[in-house]
């Protein structure tokens, strides 16, 4: 089968690409579209480094075929900041040193944003279980959890 033509929206911008039907969304994001902010840690859905949103739903890009993106709205780390204005989660991660090597960070940020959209006032336990699909080997998770809780508090204040 020849490559499939796919039309989607990526980070709010129209995107078109050609892909083999068995390519994962992750391969297309990274190798076809040059969006290398989405990382591959395992390719089997066990680490969350490739977390993206599809029509607002959190998924692992490695567990989705690129052809399935047809007509969807994809959100990646490259679209999280609004120009120079970082998302509160991104800012808190910097201020609170919630990253060391940073390879898991894009996936963690996307997952944390999805978590806070569903639950703007999570407990520590809810944050921990909400991010259980995102492996981090550097931080021991402590500063990540704190940064997510702080960002959530700040975002609630902004809304209120």
């Amino acid at each position: 089968m020849p490559k499939v033509h796919v039309t989607a929206s990526i980070n709010g911008e129209p995107a078109e690409f050609l892909c083999d039907p068995d390519k994962s969304m992750l391969e297309v994001l990274r190798n076809t579209l040059g969006l290398t902010g989405t990382k591959e840690g395992c390719g089997t859905g066990d680490c969350g480094a490739c977390s993206i949103t599809v029509d607002g739903r959190l998924v692992c890009a490695c567990l989705m075929l690129a052809v399935e993106a047809e007509g969807t709205e994809i959100g990646t780390i490259e679209g999280m900041a609004q120009g120079e204005a970082l998302h509160p989660l991104q800012r808190k991660f910097l201020e609170m040193a919630a990253l060391q090597c940073g390879i898991c960070t894009p996936g963690v940020l996307i997952a944390a944003r999805a978590l806070l959209e569903k639950n703007p006032d999570p407990t520590e336990t809810e944050v921990r279980f909400g991010l259980a699909g995102n492996l981090c080997r550097c931080t021991g998770y402590d500063k990540i959890v704190r940064a997510v809780l702080e960002a959530a508090a700040e975002m609630r204040e902004t809304v209120a």
Partner: protein, 289 residues
Amino acid sequence: MTDVRYLAPRTLEEAVSAFAAAQGAARILAGGTDLLVQMRNGILKPGVIVDIKKIAEMTEIADLPDGGFRIGAAVSGAAMAEHPRFGKAWPGVLEAVNLIGSKQVQGRCSPGGNLCHGSPAADSVPAMVAAGAVVTLQGPQGRREIPVEQVPAGPGRTTLAPGEILVSFTLTARPAGAGDAYLRMIPRTEMDIAVVGCGVNLTMQGGIVTAARVALGAVAPTVRLVEDAGKALLGTRLEDAALEAAAAACRAACKPIDDKRGTIAYRTRVAGVLLKRTAAVAAQRAQGN
């Protein structure tokens, strides 16, 4: 160029005919959380991928006139969690589905995929079996309905006929005093495959069990309905002796293997422990309803 074809039919009839026509070279794509891993690991190289998520019947949760539910085979775990009524009626089934993988996996994984993947450790299956779910299948020979426990045939295998597609799960309305629960043992708190899984569905009246179904996962080549455990609970007030008898029935039903996830001795013993804990949660829910 690759020799894989991707199809996303809009109707079940198209899906069945494409699936049947491929004569075993096709794979159904629902959430893909098992299929893509198998493709990546080189375990599977399908000739045709039939994506069923464009078919309305397979992606919706329908409220049935009698108060029951029909859940499309490709409904995601996250969508099930968001349904306003389902989780109240079947909290055990919902918690089981929601234990499949991470939040990311929940965005895609489906009860249909979990069942058809054929893993004895699939989390949703013991809960569905305990719930007495009936599945609707459609194939070249038409439509049929069978109890969910008749689907698994062994690790990675199902009893589905060639060309047959799992369409939906039907769960009945809940009588007063009904409650279900699912618990699993995993070494970590998340992200593991069940070492043992246990689903319990109880109906209680005046503190007495009037109906009970128990199912176990990861302790045999397929998920097991443990009828003796249900019988041991029936007519009891879940006294210690009744729970111990049901736990013994669970242990007796185990035919596990030693593998990287657990030992025979461990799995057998834990099956009994989980029965007691799961029954307690189900009973609490039953008596709260």
